[in-house]
Symmetry: C2
Subunit: 209 residues, 2 copies
């Protein structure tokens, strides 16, 4: 099956120029959509935090503050990469859902196979934004260390990063919940909803500190 996104010469959104990404998001094609946008916004916020981990607070930063910044830096780099992968995975997962809905439903066998495919695809379309949510909450947690020990001249960069990570996390959570709405596996649904609520609570807790 040929998906519309296969028409572009790029296999990953990270390789698109910013202008091409904006054009792809603007197109009426369903992907890339909000899930991809949230993951990329999360990657942008995470990258800003990485920048600030490279700016020591002052020349006489305490050794343990430098160690904390270095630890945050080591954790945040891979989160940026992870979020760019999730930007791709989100579009693929959503395309799989649409492909499943387009399966034939002429016979009872068709219908049963189509239902199974839709359920499997919706599970994927839930797991991907849940991972995006988790990555954004992880990055935001490291953001506390960056805010405390990074150079205060970059405080507004940390502020922008936190705002983008929060928006990305909430967008991802909303995508998890929409796709959970179509799932019939109650145990999976309950576990995913509990994890979503836990991650959002962790984010709110960081925010209020």
């Amino acid at each position: 099956m040929v998906e519309k996104q296969d028409l572009t010469p790029h296999s990953t959104f990270a390789d698109l120029t910013v202008a091409q990404l904006l054009a792809a998001l603007s197109s009426p094609d369903p992907t890339p959509g909000g899930g991809t946008a949230a993951a990329i916004a999360g990657a942008i916020g995470t990258s800003l935090l990485v920048m600030v981990t490279g700016l020591a607070k002052s020349r006489n930063n305490l050794a343990d503050e430098k160690a904390a910044l270095a630890k945050a830096r080591a954790a945040l780099g891979p989160i940026t990469s992870r979020l760019t992968e999730l930007a791709d995975a989100d579009a693929q997962a959503f395309n799989a859902v649409m492909a499943a809905y387009r399966l034939p439903k002429a016979t009872d066998e068709d219908k049963a196979a189509r239902t199974r495919s839709i359920q499997a695809a919706l599970r994927g379309a839930t797991t991907v934004p849940l991972e995006t949510l988790r990555a954004c909450v992880d990055a935001a947690a490291h953001g506390r260390v960056v805010a405390d020990y990074g150079n205060q001249s970059a405080a507004s960069d940390v502020g922008v990063a936190s705002g983008l990570l929060k928006a990305a996390a909430e967008g991802a959570a909303s995508n998890v919940r929409i796709n959970l709405g179509g799932l019939k596996d109650e145990a999976f649904t309950a576990a995913a909803e509990a994890e979503t609520a836990r991650l959002l609570a962790a984010l709110a807790d960081q925010d209020s500190r």
Copy 2:
């Protein structure tokens, strides 16, 4: 004077790949920083809204609903372009501030010239994020029409867009206020602060509807 950003072969962030943009944001160089990130996040949110203006609610959308969506679409495209330009302008404005602070201050004449340059540069570094804030608030206002008349299957895309525009607007406002803090022109400062407050209030008002 050669700015660090001149070392890259690109003159506009829109021409960087997403991976290159993330690497540039991650680098400890002060630009691109939060102002550029906010403008690009705003452009991502605006692009998502453009996507939804291309998805009619249903085949029997009322004529006035279609007209409202078309009007929003026509307004949102240029806002996306404006925000990508502001991403570049923000880095340039911040570089100008840093260049002014590096001017010589050996003599009284030097000092006076340096002060004038810093004040002029800070004014630019205030005007640019104020324009970013304005563009994000404008886009968010059109988002209400998109939410009301766009296809409901894209409701989560509109939600992600609204969250990103809000985060971008708040980040831009915080950059306006930080740079206002260094300005001596009280009339300019008061006017810019009043406009920032007005735009944030308009955003909050949209949000609560």
